[in-house]
Amino acid sequence: MKHIPNYVDLTCTNLMIKLKINLKKLDKGETMEFYSNREQFDNIKKPFSKNGYQIVGNQVDDNKYHIKIIKQ
């Protein structure tokens, strides 16, 4: 079973840095998945809705979202 990292404890800025670094390593069409909280999801929605990415978030718990970012 695929391991999905849980980033809910990261601060918004640290999450953003981690995502920016990891997404650079992906090829076009590849997807990055992780769990975030609501505040993190709100914070990354806007920057990753543009600049060649597609972001999808599904709520899986009270304050937990399953996020997929696809590099386009």
Partner: protein
């Protein structure tokens, strides 16, 4: 407030000195400065030592030669350090000074109303009802918290709402139960200031970075509140996401830090500008100088995180590696995931495509250390000379921009 490295005064004097401006654009910028503005320094604390340290003299001399140069000195700190204003002025009162500047007291002003003048100077265009201070250092180890309190008190007396933001070790200044044996009790003084603000119908906002608070044990349980009151800090000293602090940087108000600058432009909005929408939406730019090595302290990571957060808020943000900040750049950093530290160079590479974030390095700082920018960063960081640095500091993209913030990390 803090020690000024000789190198800083050197690049400042090169950026601003007319004798070395051979490039027409820079001259033009300085001409505008001459017509419209003043170059004012406000020195207190350890920054005052630069006036007696011979290593700084040549560069102070160059700066003093500039038209409209003024240097305000904190008289209380002058007294504390045993400096004498007459002797200081004699040091800089040589034949190389021209015209009206030859009168000693006009060069260096011993200022008993130092903080009043700081406020008057930085807030002369009435940038709003608030004036903020962003503190990075904890109390007692550093005296900057004492200066912050002095400034906050004057902000209240000026009938402006004081705002204190704390970041990195600065968050410690709100800790409960402080009991210094000799020094001014920072916690008690914050309480007094809050009372004074209330009596004057002013609101004293205190916001601290939650990442810094969590790292230092102030937030121990899972928290999903926007603003969090720690049981370890005084009441209404609230922790929040750094983004909430950056929200304040989207506003027009002035925010100072222990080592900072404020470039202020005269004249307001230009109605003839072509792209009015863009101009109206533009936010006050910020320049962040990275002056420390990459991993020995939290300064560099803190500065880059702050810059990135500003850029995410669409604040035009320029990060300049300078002085010892260039230690980040000449060798390839190798960090594993288990090292529990962000690779500073990876952060630069990953964020250099952000629309509102640009990276620069001062070539002089590299050359002094015999450093070369590591190849992998060549496309992410632009090398600049002192002329270009002067342009970055002084230039104004839109007429609606009334000021630009400069912070040293």
């Amino acid at each position: 407030m803090e020690h000024i490295p000789p190198e800083r005064l050197e690049w400042l004097s090169k950026c601003f000195n007319t004798n070395e401006t051979e490039i027409a654009n820079h001259k033009k910028l300085l001409k505008n400065q001459k017509n419209n503005g003043k170059l004012r320094f406000f020195l207190t604390g350890d920054a005052l030592f630069s006036l007696i340290d011979k290593r700084h003299r040549k560069n102070w001399d160059k700066l003093i030669k500039l038209n409209n140069f003024q240097c305000h000195l904190d008289s209380e700190e002058i007294k504390l350090l045993g400096l004498e204003i007459d002797k200081l002025n004699k040091l800089y009162n040589k034949e190389n000074l021209s015209g009206s500047q030859t009168l000693p007291n006009r060069i260096l002003k011993n200022n008993s109303r130092f903080w009043d003048n700081v406020i008057k100077s930085v807030n002369n265009q009435s940038y709003g009802d608030n004036l903020g201070f962003l503190e990075f250092q904890g109390p007692y180890m550093s005296r900057t918290s004492i200066y912050a309190l002095q400034l906050l008190e004057k902000i209240i007396e000026s009938k402006l709402n004081p705002e204190l933001y704390t970041y990195l070790d600065g968050i410690h200044i709100g800790h409960l139960g402080q009991k210094p044996s000799e020094f001014e009790n920072v916690e008690k003084k914050l309480l007094d200031l809050r009372k004074k603000a209330n009596l004057n119908n002013l609101h004293f906002k205190m916001l601290s970075c939650s990442r810094c608070g969590t790292a230092r044990g102030y937030i121990r349980d899972e928290n999903d509140k926007e603003y969090f009151q720690s049981e370890d800090t005084l009441q209404n000293y609230l922790f929040c996401n750094l983004n909430k602090i950056i929200n304040r940087f989207e506003e027009n108000n002035i925010i100072l830090t222990p080592s900072c600058g404020s470039i202020q432009y005269l004249n307001g909005f230009n109605e003839n500008v072509l792209d009015k929408k863009k101009e109206l939406n533009s936010k006050h730019p910020i320049i962040i100088f990275i002056t420390h090595s990459p991993y020995g302290s939290e300064w560099t990571f803190g500065g880059l995180s702050f810059a990135m957060a500003c850029a995410n808020h669409e604040i035009p943000t320029k990060v300049i590696f300078i002085e010892d900040g260039t230690y980040c750049l000449p060798t390839i950093h190798k960090i594993n995931e288990q090292d529990k530290i962000f690779n500073i160079q990876d952060i630069i590479l990953a964020t250099s495509d952000m629309e509102f974030l640009q990276y620069y390095v001062l070539d002089d700082s590299l050359k002094k250390r015999d450093f070369h920018l590591v190849n992998k960063l060549n496309n992410s960081i632009e090398k600049i000379d002192n002329i270009e640095l002067g342009r970055i500091i002084l230039s104004r993209q839109y007429k609606s921009i009334t000021h630009k913030r400069i912070i040293f990390y």
